[in-house]
C-alpha cells in the first residue's frame, strides 16, 4: 500500500502581527479600487465594454487630427474646444459610470462594513469623488496628450499650441471636478443603477436643451447680456467660459461668455451644492 503523498495539515488559526495602516491608506486603497471599477478593471468583461468603447470614441478625433497634421500639414483640432465638441461622449461616460461607483454599495448595504472600519464617511465620499475625477481626467487628458505628442513629432509650418494644450489640461481638471460632483450626487440618490444612469443623462439633456432654447429666445428678444449667462446652463459651456477667462484662450465658437469671476463662482457654487447633497445623502444612510 502506498503512503499518501500530499497531506494537508491544519495549521490552525494564525494571528496577524504585521503593520496596520491608518485611515489614509484605507481611503487610498478605496480610491484605487473605485478608479479601477470605473473602467471595469477587475470586474466582468461586460463591465469593461462601455467605458472602453467611450474611451475609444474620445481617442478617435485625436487620431484623425494627427493624420490630418501629418498628411495635410494643417493645424490640429482645437485643444481648448475638445471637451465641448466631445460632450455627448463625456456625458454618456459620466452617466454610465457614476452609478457604478455609488449604487452597488447603497443597494447591497455594504456601507456599514466600511463604517465599521477606520475609514469615515467623509473618506468614503472623498475616495469615490477622487476616483470619478481621475476617471474623467483619463478620458479627457489622454486624447489631448496624444494629439500634442503628435504635434511635437510632426513638423508643422506654425508655432506649437503649447499654451492651448496646457489651458485644456486645466479646463479638463475643472470639467472633471464639476461633472464628478454632479454625476455622483445624482447617482447616489437612487440605489438602482439604471435609474442612476437615466437621471444623469436626463440632467445633461435638460441643461443642453435649456441652455440652447433659453439663449436662442433671449438673443432674439435682444437681451444679449442675459443670453451670455443663460448659455452657461450647459456645464460644458460653463467650464469653457471659466477656462477662457482663466487662461485667456479663445472661447468655443467665439461665444460671448461673461468675463471676470462670474462663471468661476457659478462653477464653485455648483460643485459645493452637489457635494453638500452627496454628504447629506450619506448622512442619511449612516443614520439608518
Amino acid at each position: 500500500m502506498s503512503q499518501p503523498t500530499g497531506v494537508i495539515h491544519d495549521i490552525g488559526y494564525r494571528h496577524y502581527d504585521g503593520p496596520r495602516l491608518g485611515r489614509g491608506a484605507g481611503a487610498v486603497a478605496l480610491f484605487v479600487y473605485s478608479l479601477r471599477g470605473t473602467f471595469g478593471l477587475g470586474r466582468t468583461f461586460k463591465s469593461k465594454i462601455m467605458p472602453f468603447l467611450l474611451f475609444g470614441a474620445m481617442m478617435l478625433p485625436a487620431v484623425v487630427s494627427i493624420a490630418i497634421m501629418a498628411l495635410l500639414k494643417q493645424a490640429p483640432m482645437s485643444y481648448t474646444d475638445y471637451a465641448v465638441f466631445m460632450q455627448p461622449v463625456i456625458a454618456i461616460f459620466l452617466a454610465a459610470q457614476s452609478p457604478v461607483l455609488v449604487a452597488p454599495d447603497l443597494r447591497h448595504r455594504v456601507i456599514p462594513l466600511y463604517l465599521s472600519r477606520p475609514v469615515t464617511i467623509v473618506d468614503y465620499i472623498g475616495a469615490k469623488f477622487a476616483a470619478m475625477i481621475a476617471a474623467l481626467l483619463i478620458l479627457m487628458v489622454v486624447p489631448l496628450t496624444v494629439q500634442f505628442v503628435g504635434e511635437l513629432l510632426i513638423d508643422l509650418p506654425m508655432p506649437l499650441h503649447t499654451h492651448e494644450y496646457l489651458a485644456a489640461l486645466g479646463g479638463s481638471l475643472l470639467n472633471a471636478v464639476l461633472l464628478a460632483s454632479i454625476g455622483l450626487a445624482l447617482a447616489s440618490f437612487t440605489p438602482r443603477r439604471g435609474l442612476g444612469v437615466a437621471s444623469v443623462i436626463a440632467f445633461y439633456m435638460f441643461t443642453l436643451a435649456a441652455s440652447a432654447v433659453l439663449t436662442g429666445v433671449l438673443e432674439s428678444e435682444g437681451h444679449r447680456d442675459a443670453s451670455s449667462w443663460s448659455i452657461l446652463l450647459n456645464p460644458f459651456f460653463l467650464v469653457n467660459a471659466v477656462q477662457t477667462n482663466l487662461f485667456g484662450t479663445q472661447p468655443v465658437e467665439g461665444l460671448p461668455f461673461p468675463s471676470e469671476a462670474g462663471p468661476a463662482l457659478i462653477l464653485l457654487a455648483v460643485v459645493a451644492l452637489a457635494l453638500a447633497g452627496l454628504y447629506a445623502r450619506y448622512r442619511k444612510a449612516l443614520a439608518a
Binding site: Y16, G18, H108, L113, S116, R117, P118, T120
Partner: protein, 296 residues
C-alpha cells in the same frame, strides 16, 4: 480581563429610548447578548463602534472611549451586521481582500489573510465564484470572514445564524465557539434565541427595552436549575412517592420523572430508592435547564 464596559449608557432618539442607563461588563471569551427585536442590541453595537454618540453615560472598548477613539477601536474590532451586506457581482476572495485593505492591511498581507480566513470559515473552491450565486449559509460565512480578516481582538456578531437551516446553524455556532476559544478572539454575539447562545457562550447578558435584565456566567444559570430525568419500566408513582417522602422535589412528566437536584445526596437517594423498590431502570440522565426556564 474586561473587553468592554458601559456605565449608565443611555441613547435617546426623538421618539424612543433605545438604551436606558445600561451598565454591563464583558470579559474575554464568548458573551451572548440577548434581547427581543428592538431591545437595543444594534444601538449598543453602533455606540461601541463609535458610529453613534451616546446621549448619556460612557462606554469603553478595549480600554478606549468610542466617543473620541472610535477609529482605534474600529481598527481592532470586527463587525458582522445582521442584514445582507455583500455585493453579488464580486467573488468572496476579491471582496474579502478589499475589506482587509479597508481595515488597513497592506496588499500582500490582505491577500494572505483573506485566503486564511476564508479557509477557516469553511469556504472552499466556491470562493472564486461571484457571491450572488451563494447559498444563505455561504453568504453568512463570507460576512463572518470580513469581520475576521484583519485579526481583530473582539468581534461583534449580530444574529449570525439568521436564515440558516438547522445544520447551518450548528456549523455557524461551532465556528463562533472556535473563534472565541481556539482563535482567542473575544466574541459578543447578539441573538434572540437563548437556546443557541447557551451552547456557545461563557456569559450571557439579557437586555430588554434598553435595560439590563440579567448578566451572569452560563454555569451559574444552568447549575442553579439542574434536574435529573429518570425513566423506569413500571412503578413510576411508587418512586415518586418515595422520593417525595425523603424531601425531594419531584414532577411526573408523562413516562419520566423529573427530580430537582437539591444537593449531591439527591443522586444517592435516587439510586437507593430505585434499588430498594426493585425497579427496572431504563434511563437516568442529567438535564440542564434551558436558560429560557431561568428567565421565565
Amino acid at each position: 480581563m474586561t473587553i468592554l464596559a458601559t456605565e449608565a449608557l443611555t441613547k435617546r432618539y426623538p421618539r424612543v429610548t433605545a438604551l436606558d442607563r445600561l451598565t454591563v461588563e464583558v470579559g474575554a471569551g464568548v458573551t451572548g447578548l440577548v434581547g427581543a427585536n428592538g431591545a437595543g442590541k444594534s444601538t449598543l453595537i453602533k455606540i461601541l463602534l463609535g458610529l453613534v454618540p451616546a446621549s448619556e453615560g460612557s462606554a469603553r472598548v478595549l480600554g478606549l472611549d468610542p466617543a473620541t477613539q472610535g477609529q482605534e477601536i474600529r481598527r481592532s474590532v470586527g463587525y458582522m451586521p445582521e442584514h445582507d451586506c455583500l455585493p453579488p457581482d464580486q467573488s468572496a476572495t476579491e471582496f474579502i481582500v478589499h475589506m482587509a485593505r479597508m481595515s488597513g492591511l497592506p496588499r500582500i498581507a490582505a491577500r494572505e489573510r483573506a485566503a486564511d480566513t476564508l479557509r477557516h470559515v469553511g469556504l472552499q473552491e466556491e470562493r472564486y465564484r461571484p457571491i450572488g450565486g451563494y447559498s444563505t449559509g455561504m453568504k453568512q460565512r463570507v460576512k463572518l470572514a470580513q469581520a475576521l480578516v484583519h485579526d481583530p481582538k473582539v468581534i461583534f456578531l449580530d444574529e449570525p445564524t439568521n436564515g440558516l437551516d438547522p445544520q447551518g446553524r450548528d456549523e455557524m455556532l461551532r465556528l463562533v465557539h472556535r473563534i472565541g476559544t481556539e482563535f482567542g478572539i473575544s466574541v459578543l454575539v447578539c441573538s434572540h434565541l437563548l437556546g443557541e447562545l447557551e451552547r456557545i457562550c461563557d456569559h450571557v447578558i439579557v437586555i430588554d427595552a434598553g435595560q439590563l435584565l440579567r448578566s451572569s456566567a452560563i454555569g451559574e444559570l444552568t447549575q442553579a436549575s439542574q434536574v435529573i430525568s429518570v425513566e423506569v419500566e413500571e412503578g413510576l408513582e411508587k418512586l415518586a412517592a418515595r422520593l417525595t417522602e425523603t424531601g425531594e422535589t419531584v414532577v411526573v412528566e408523562g413516562r419520566s420523572l423529573t427530580v430537582q437536584v437539591r444537593a449531591d445526596e439527591t443522586y444517592d437517594l435516587l439510586r437507593d430508592a430505585v434499588v430498594d423498590l426493585d425497579l427496572n431502570l431504563v434511563r437516568l440522565e442529567q438535564r440542564h435547564a434551558r436558560i429560557e426556564d431561568v428567565f421565565r
